[in-house]
Amino acid sequence: MMHIGNLPFIVAMLLVILGLYALLFKRNLIKMVIGVSLVETGVNLFLVTLGYRAEGIAPIYTHAPTAVSQVLPTPQALTLTSIVIGLATTALLLSFAVLVYRHYGTLDVTKIKELRG
């Protein structure tokens, strides 16, 4: 197998960084939520890459070929948990964004600050 080094780790971190960028520098509330989603996706990808074992197969015995190593199950379980948590937080964040829009008529953070007075 060709050596790809730590590329998967780096890609996961790049997703986290992109998400942080959107969260810190974008002014639109929904864009900020997209940033949070990107950070979540990056962390999930990071967790799964941690559990990969070179030449391993999925940790499921049903119809599995014999005598090969299997990848680690725990990070997959953790990722399942964190995906659902991500959905829950995204839903709540978007609900609040809609609520803010209803009150202020805008999604722009700077305009909200002005309107608040």
């Binding site: 989603s37 990107l38 996706t41 990969y52 197969i57 809609v98």
Partner: protein, 83 residues
């Protein structure tokens, strides 16, 4: 083996591209679609990394349902990032 590696590298690069597009687009709907695309590619990457359980969850929850919730939220807010 070489083919698999190439697929994996391309997938990883496309994931970063999808994420960057999601941040870059000014139109929020395009942004959300880019995010969902990145999520689907991440699901593919999970499959390549021998995590079919997580791949199904990411495709179903991370891409489809998250996008549905985003679209619902967009309906009554603005579609453009700046107006």
């Amino acid at each position: 083996m070489i083919a698999e590696t190439i697929i994996q590298v391309v997938t990883l690069l496309l994931i970063v591209l999808g994420g960057a597009l999601a941040v870059w687009f000014k139109d929020l709907l395009s942004s959300i679609i880019a995010l969902a695309g990145a999520s689907l590619l991440v699901a593919l990457e999970f499959y390549i990394l021998q995590a079919p359980d997580v791949a199904i969850a990411e495709a179903g929850i991370g891409a489809a349902l998250t996008m549905a919730i985003y679209v619902v939220a967009l309906r009554r807010t603005r579609r453009k990032e700046k107006e």
